[in-house]
């Protein structure tokens, strides 16, 4: 089933703030084998000029994937979640996420297209502090495999 093109260009209100915790960063860093003390040791991070431990590059996915769920699962858009695969992912950082950040996500639907029987949904997500500072912009391409695929 093709996706509802009327969603193209849609923007959503900011998500509820996510409090980035020091232990969450450590947990994520451990899970991805990130051993740099910047991710674990607040003193090392401070010595490098950060207010607290620094998140590894893909950490924002913790926040942005949850923020995407409401869109992807919206029955009006028409995504069959059992056929979803992750196509592309990109992060463009103003600065790394650090413990103590309080972050909100604004979702935008940037592209909806069909190619070779598959549907593609590209979202752009701006991750900002609650005071409005842009921290990272995240693009996520969702592929919905067609019947033949």
């Amino acid at each position: 089933m093709p996706l509802d093109q009327s969603f193209l260009g849609r923007s959503y209100p900011p998500t509820a703030p996510y409090q980035v915790g020091r232990e969450k960063i450590r947990e994520f860093a451990t899970a991805v084998g990130a051993e740099d003390p910047l991710h674990h040791d607040a003193d090392a991070a401070k010595a490098a000029g950060y207010p607290d431990v620094v998140a590894p590059p893909t950490f924002p996915i913790v926040i942005t994937m949850a923020a995407l769920k409401g869109i992807v699962l919206d029955p009006a858009l028409g995504i069959d979640y059992s056929r979803v695969v992750h196509g592309d992912q990109r992060f463009s950082y103003v600065r790394p996420v650090v413990a103590g950040d309080e972050l909100v996500v604004v979702n935008h639907i940037e592209e909806i297209m069909t190619r070779a029987g598959n549907d593609f949904l590209t979202t752009r997500q701006e991750v900002r502090t609650t005071t409005g500072e842009l921290v990272v912009t995240v693009w996520h391409k969702t592929v919905v495999r067609g019947d033949a695929a």
Binding site: K24, E27, F28, A29, T30, A31, V32, G33, A34, D36, L38, H39, A47, A48, G49, Y50, V54, P56, P57, T58, I61, V62, M65, A66, S82, V85, H86, G87, D88, Q89, R90, F91, S92, Y93, P96, W139
Partner: protein, 137 residues
């Protein structure tokens, strides 16, 4: 280190087991059962449990961190997931290997193109990281 244009970056290999996927699921909040349930993975036509694409991307990020010598240099990072990474239920699991080439570099930034392999298959395309040249700290 400071990256030089044309430089070939040494292979980084990561072993990936089912336990790693479970740990990543918990840390990331991505509990899609195709990453831990053989039954679910097979029922949707996969060869078995597969790694989270974002776990592969995270390991690619760690390869970049190792090449750079620090974990805070990436300013832009994108990948395309082109093949699943099956992770067998064995002590060894599977392994992912990453190599890199510095496509361009100036005093401030370098662009690293990453090749990600699982066995003989490329699993990422258009995998690129723009990194800050080494800052002194």
């Amino acid at each position: 280190m400071t990256f030089q244009a044309g430089e070939v970056l040494p292979e980084q290999v990561f072993q990936v087991t089912r336990a790693d996927l479970v740990r990543y699921a918990g840390a990331s909040g991505d509990f899609n059962p195709i990453h831990w349930s053989e039954r679910t993975a097979l029922s949707v036509g996969l060869p078995g449990v597969i790694a989270h694409g974002m776990f592969t991307m995270a390991l690619a990020g760690q390869a970049v961190a190792k090449w750079a010598g620090t974990g805070d240099t990436v300013v832009d990072f994108g990948v395309r997931f082109i093949r699943p990474v099956p992770v067998p239920d064995t002590d060894e699991g599977t392994s992912l290997s990453f190599t890199g080439v510095v496509k361009s570099a100036d005093d401030d930034f370098a662009l690293v193109e990453i090749t990600a392999m699982c066995g003989t298959e490329r699993v990422l395309a258009q995998a690129r990281a723009k990194v800050k040249q080494r800052i002194s700290h």
